[in-house]
Amino acid sequence: MTELRLNAVSFAYEKGRTISAPILERVTLGIARGEFVVVLGQSGSGKTSLLNVAAGFLAPTEGRVTVDGKQIAGPSADRAVVFQDDALFAWSNARDNVAFPLRLRGLARSERNATADALLADVGLSGQGDRAIWELSGGMRQRVGIARALAARPDFLLMDEPLGALDAMTRDQMQELLLTVWRRSNTGALLITHSVEEALFLATRIVVLAAHPGRIVLSRNFDFGQRFLDGEAARSLKSEPGFVAAREELIAAIHEPERAVAA
């Protein structure tokens, strides 16, 4: 089974000879294909750095990042990234944005357009390929961003608060979409979020990071997303006593990480 693994990864910014206070300290985390790992933590706990290290945008100061045991050498198409500010290309339409990874690989236009249109349909944007990016709403842009990430046929989908800028209604819809897309693509997902509810709904495993330095204080498995995919209603899952109890527990762990470690 394909696995993306962070082995005792530490990270600090180096500026000339000075090194900043550690952002991440000895973080060990594995994401296998078919898993949905969500990272929670307060601002400044190193969530985004963790994702950037996993993507290969940042090199760890200590420790190793491996895919199936092989150390990564920077960003690569097997680890696609979705950003909070969609990072789409305003100069091309939705279809060409989705087809961008395929264009880099030199696929013929007809071939990449067919794939892009199918992916747009998968994220609920069928027939919208010709629309300009600046004509789309925030939720639609994020859908295009997700479709573009999937076009690379990645093993892993790394998402940095992809739903952070969306309104509550759109956010709920997009969570359901994320689950469906993740299941269909059979990728290993790593998602960063501030929202505990979102984490509980999506994750097969939740990891809580504490700040200064960023380290894992809690790691636990959940199956609410699985149950949604098996046909249960999202609203009733989110109001279930088990969901509410887990939410309070996680909020406590985020705000008082020392107690979580002790527990």
Binding site: A55, F57, P75, A77, A80, D85, A87, A90, R105, A132
Partner: protein, 276 residues
Amino acid sequence: MTAHIDIAPPARRAGGLAHSLRRIAPLLTGSALAVFVIGIWQIASTSGWVSPVFLPPPSSVVVAFGRLVQVGYVDSTLIQHVGASLGRVFSALAFSVLIGVPAGLLIATSPIGRGVLDPIIEFLRPLPPLAYLPLVIIWFGIGETAKVLVIVLSMVPAITISTAAGVRSASKNQVNAARAFGASPLQLLWHVLLPGALPSILTGVRIALGAGWTTLVAAELVAAGRGLGYMIQSAAQFLVTDVVIAGILVISAIAFAFEALLRFVEHRYVPWSRNQ
């Protein structure tokens, strides 16, 4: 649709007539001003307030314009003068884009490129073209090369600086996204940085054309056998003021047409730059 969009505070809904009046108000006042100025001009020069040598009446400028088109002045018709001038500006623009865009890319993407090119551009940028025109003439003579070169020198800084700014404006995440999809540095440049810089490059071209046009007339004043600047200069020497004024109006009309054309190109080809 547009009838309900109103810039003024919506305290009181404007009536249909009042509203359409407000919309065409700038056009109306502009035309009224033009008519007023031309009227004063006509009266001033026909009533003897000003000597026609200094200010010929609008009517004789129109006649001069007709003569310029049909007969010409200093051995060339107006079309030939305009053609010579446009040829210089556009060949200079072509060279400037060929030099300025790669230079801007280098400045924005390579520390060495920046170290080498930035001082050159910053040296050139604040210099008035008329200051280095004599030097260029000493080096290259009074032929076409010198004229086009002077215009190129006045255009390159604007295009280089705006290209560099445009390339730098690509978001870090756009660059990271492309890298994560496996883009090589060259692919990154071609598919992400360059298209992202396009609106800025077009702005640079607009500024450069303004500068180039100014420089052109100056270059033609010094030595040329044809061209609008030369035509005006020759007419001025013999106090043919109506030709001078007609020439100035032609230059103004061409500059305005350039500006309108570039605005259209921006509107048509980089619509996203207004909507981000």
